[in-house]
């Protein structure tokens, strides 16, 4: 099965995984191997290299934002430059949500990072190209969570 994007990984400079999204089914073993390979390959890159790598039959696009590496694997015939834009868009969404997002935000609110991602991409494809639309959807979902809790008058915490 060929999706535009195969997986998205976020990891720190020490190789600690902060987020993993898999767009095609894969066994736990395969996932672990890919995580190892990606962190090794990307962390070994020279500082002024280009942001594209070849790995097996995929193109791997990676970019460092502060202390986090964003690593996106795409099909061989996909457009690398737009993939860089996809990474950048996700970072912008996180930044809007958390306000000057940093790695700690993603560590302590990892589930929110996923919720945001799931409003931006689905099944390895872009679902919404407007930044504002994604932000509004997230806010609305969060609002729903809060109000639903109040409505059902059961404390969330």
């Amino acid at each position: 099965m060929l999706t535009c994007m195969r997986f998205l990984l976020l990891f720190s400079r020490q190789g600690k995984l902060r987020l993993q999204k898999w767009f095609t089914p894969m066994s736990e073993r395969e996932k672990k191997k890919i995580i190892r390979d990606m962190t090794t390959m990307v962390l070994a890159r020279q500082p002024r290299s280009c942001n594209f790598l070849h790995w097996k039959d995929l193109k791997v696009i990676y970019k460092r934002y502060a202390s986090l590496y964003f690593c996106l694997a795409i099909e061989n015939q996909e457009n690398e430059l737009i993939a860089l834009e996809v990474i950048h868009r996700y970072v912008e969404l996180l930044d809007k949500y958390f306000g000057n997002v940093c790695e700690l935000d993603i560590i302590f609110n990892f589930e929110k990072a996923y919720f945001i991602l799931d409003e931006f991409l689905i099944g390895g494809e872009i679902q919404e190209t407007s930044k504002q639309m994604v932000n509004r959807s997230i806010e609305a979902s969060d609002m729903l969570q809060e109000t639903m809790e109040e409505y059902m008058s059961k404390p969330a915490f």
Binding site: N109, E128, S130, Q132, E146
Partner: protein, 805 residues
């Protein structure tokens, strides 16, 4: 930490995360996690307590750290079924992280998904859609496809865009269901919402790629797609979709992709998108990456469809501009794209050759690699000289991982387009000097073959190689070729005058010094030392004064610890001692090596080449070399033209053939070296041996071989069975007046005690008057400091009748 989030953070989750992070060792962390997991498991078993979503979230965090979390699968199923949005949200997230279609538990959520797809709240619907598109199994897809189709038509944009991507997933999983979505996909193209449009385009791409018939039907949408693109490209600023001045680059790229699929192999469709593509190519702002992303996709589309030539040139020019971009990502993708079309659009790419060659100097290793590939593909007969300059420059400073590829690429280019032999040899030498350690093994015989073919350049080549050898003996391939040439063309090296280079005086000692340096250096590989030893041996027939030096080198290596070297030395020793009369023939100038002849393809050192000397050479060589030095033999070979390596001697050769007897020449070159294997001539030569002298432990035996009607070769063998070593051992011979005598150099002048080694000497006689053959031999030696002399007369020669016939 910043908390501008609309939703309050989960305190229990964050407390756990803090606890895990404060663990100082891996062991401590594991302890914390084990405790937490135990607590989570306990909580799962309890009744609903309002904290379930936090527990599952904790488990998901632990899972991300790499710890097992399968016991949370059922909890996901329960949470998804919960009426609470917060629990559904985490439940679906958990399902996407912990469940895949292979797990049994995934089947259990099918019903929940089905229900949630028709939930009154779109955010709940959204969860179901997202999860289905992420991990829906084939069964689930079949089950829910009609529902998705319904959502594609009836719902709001928020749901439609997600349903479209769900449909994409379904079609990927179950190809036959594609047909179901074709009508909906078609109608979605008229939506205004970009998210929906984007989803529609992705769905259509998927449907077209899966089914060629569907692709035919969707070709009709090209005008609509062109309109949409035009709107995006030419419209004013749209705050909703603007990215650095480009209006919705993501959608543009996707539409361009669909256009590519529809225009491929179809003139009509390609024609109708021609203008649009030109417009996008010219109007898109290329100062930011995002604009270049769109341009890139445009270029890929133009090059893939049946576009008119003007548009193609425009596309290649965009790539050419990309090569000059500061952004190395852009340079990199330009190279990869140019590489793909260098075959089909060769001339267009050639126009950018200068820029591509400049990229050889790029800092980025990936760009360098691409530039090398592309440069090699662009080499042609008309640009070979200038391109080679650049490539050689590149070779001298390129990263080590690219050297082998660069060297072999250069060799191939040189072979295909060399404007002259001298240029070709110079180029190959340059590569060996720069990157000799990275070239393939075949390079050495290939270069040797090339050199033998360029006969006017032998002098030039050997001088150049000699000079290179003086500078650096670390590059094995270079050293091997240099040694071979010095051995082979040593006479030309010593002559000194060469038109092509400055004259330089090289003495015999200089040449031998160079070879000995190679022999003795720890940098020389065993193969290289083999080359050097053979070359040294070959010089014995090309120099005049220093043969003794060569003899001593060869004899030293007779006890070398390297078996290969030792064997060579032993064989060469034997050549000096027993088969001196054959030495010149064995070591004479090699014939021109044709490609694919044994001498050419063999990657080993010239020990093999010596074996391969055809017997015709042997036949011609021996009598000639009595009188003429080696280079005159070479001239003779030139007279004979190109037939040197045939085994039948040509007519001009017949009269010169005196014929070595069969047992000496052997049937093929290989036998020759077998003959030279041992020290005992007796077992090799069937010619009878006669004891001519026996006194004081010193014996002298002789054997004869008739060479012709009047010619005869006598081999004298001296041995010392006494207990003391003899030194300065010499033999002198005298014959009747009309007989011509020529004594060849003896194998040595020391006779060690107890017969451990012998001395042999060949005497060549010519008896034109056929007189009675007699020979007086004087034996002289020194024993324990005192000289000794004796004389013996030999009246009968074995193998001849009493009259010496």
């Amino acid at each position: 930490m910043h908390t501008h989030t609309a939703m309050s953070p989960s305190v229990p989750l964050q407390e756990m995360i803090r606890a895990i992070r404060s663990a100082r060792t891996q062991c401590e962390e594991r302890g914390v996690i084990q405790r937490e997991c135990a607590a989570i498991r306990a909580q799962f078993r309890q009744a609903d307590n309002g904290g379930r979503s936090h527990n599952l979230a904790k488990l998901l965090y632990v899972h991300m750290l790499g710890y097992p979390a399968h016991f949370g699968q059922m909890e996901c199923v329960r949470m998804i079924a919960s009426p609470r949005y917060s629990e559904k949200r985490v439940g679906y997230l958990g399902a996407m992280m912990l469940l895949d279609e292979k797990q049994d538990a995934s089947l259990l959520i099918t019903n929940s998904i089905k229900n949630d797809l028709s939930h009154s709240n779109q955010y709940v619907q959204s969860l179901a859609l997202c999860t289905l598109a992420c991990m829906g199994s084939a069964e689930m897809c079949r089950d829910l496809a009609p529902e998705i189709d319904r959502l594609l038509r009836a719902s709001n944009s928020y749901i439609k865009k997600k349903a479209a991507l769900c449909a994409v997933h379904i079609v990927r999983k179950v190809h036959e269901l594609g047909e179901l979505f074709v009508p909906a996909a078609r109608s979605l193209l008229s939506e205004k919402n970009h998210g929906v449009l984007h989803g529609a385009v992705v769905l259509i791409i998927e449907l077209c790629e899966q089914n060629p018939e569907t692709l035919e039907r969707f070709r009709k949408t090209v005008p609509d797609l062109v309109q949409i693109m035009k709107g995006l490209v030419l419209s004013g600023y749209s705050p909703e979709h603007d990215v650095a001045g480009i209006s919705d680059p993501f959608l543009q790229v996707r539409i361009l992709r669909l256009l590519r699929i529809l225009g491929r192999n179809n003139e009509g469709a390609s024609d109708s998108m021609n203008d649009l593509l030109a417009q996008v190519a010219t109007n898109t702002d290329s100062t930011k990456t995002v604009g270049n992303a769109v341009l890139y996709e445009t270029v890929l589309t133009v090059l893939d469809i049946k576009s008119e030539s003007g548009l193609r040139v425009l596309a290649v020019n965009i790539l050419g501009r990309f090569l000059l971009n500061n952004d190395r990502n852009i340079r990199y993708i330009a190279m990869t794209s140019l590489q793909k079309i260098v075959g089909t659009d060769h001339n267009a790419v050639q126009r950018h050759r200068g820029t591509i060659v400049d990229c050889l100097k790029d800092q980025d290793a990936s760009v360098k690699r691409r530039a090398l590939e592309l440069s090699l593909a662009l080499v042609s007969a008309s640009n070979i000289r200038s391109m080679m300059k650049e490539l050689l420059l590149f070779l001298s400073s390129c990263p080590p991982e690219l050297r082998a590829h660069a060297a072999s690429g250069i060799f191939n280019a040189a072979e295909r387009y060399a404007p002259s032999q001298r240029w070709h040899i110079d180029t190959m030498l340059h590569v060996l000097i720069t990157a000799g350690g990275d070239v393939r093994d075949e390079t050495v015989p290939n270069l040797i073959q090339l050199i033998t073919n360029a006969s006017e350049l032998h002098c030039y080549t050997v001088h150049k190689l000699y000079r290179a050898l003086l500078l650096d003996i670390s590059q094995q391939s270079l050293v091997q070729v240099a040694c071979w040439c010095i051995g082979e063309y040593g006479d030309l090296l010593l002559k000194g005058d060469c038109q092509e280079t400055e004259p330089v005086q090289v003495t015999e000692d200089d040449a031998l010094d160079a070879l000995e340096t190679v022999l003795q250096s720890h940098m020389s590989s065993p193969a290289t030392r083999g080359f050097a030893l053979t070359a040294t041996m070959k010089l014995s027939t090309r120099i005049t004064d220093n043969v003794d030096r060569i003899r001593s080198i060869v004899s030293i290596y007779g006890s070398c610890i390297d078996v290969e070297l030792q064997q060579r030395a032993v064989e060469y020793n034997a050549l000096f001692r027993k088969y001196d009369h054959m030495r010149a023939a064995v070591l004479e100038r090699m014939p021109v090596i044709e490609k694919n002849s044994p001498g050419h393809t063999n990657g080993e050192s010239t020990g093999e080449a010596v074996k391969d000397v055809p017997t015709a050479k042997m036949k011609q060589g021996e009598p000639l070399l009595l009188q003429q030095p080696a280079n005159q033999v070479c001239d003779l070979l030139d007279l004979l033209g190109g037939s040197e390596e045939t085994l039948q001697p040509g007519p001009a050769v017949d009269c010169l053939v005196s014929g070595l007897s069969v047992h000496a020449a052997g049937t093929a070159g290989g036998d020759l070296l077998d003959l030279l294997g041992g020290f005992e001539p007796a077992e090799l030569s069937p010619a009878p041996q006669v004891l001519a002298y026996d006194k004081g432990g010193v014996t002298l035996t002789l054997s004869c071989e008739k060479q012709s009607d009047t010619g005869l070769t006598v081999t004298l063998t001296a041995s010392n069975s006494s207990d003391s070593d003899l030194s300065s051992f010499t033999l002198q011979a005298a014959v009747p007046k009309s007989v011509q005598l020529h004594m060849k150099a003896p194998s040595g002048d020391s006779l060690p005690a107890r017969g451990t080694a012998k001395v042999t000497q060949m005497v060549v006689l010519n008896n034109p008057n056929k007189v009675n053959l007699k020979m007086r031999v004087r034996v002289s030696y020194t024993r324990q400091g005192s000289p000794f002399q004796d004389t013996v007369q030999i009246d009968s020669f074995p193998g001849l009748d009493a009259a010496g016939q």
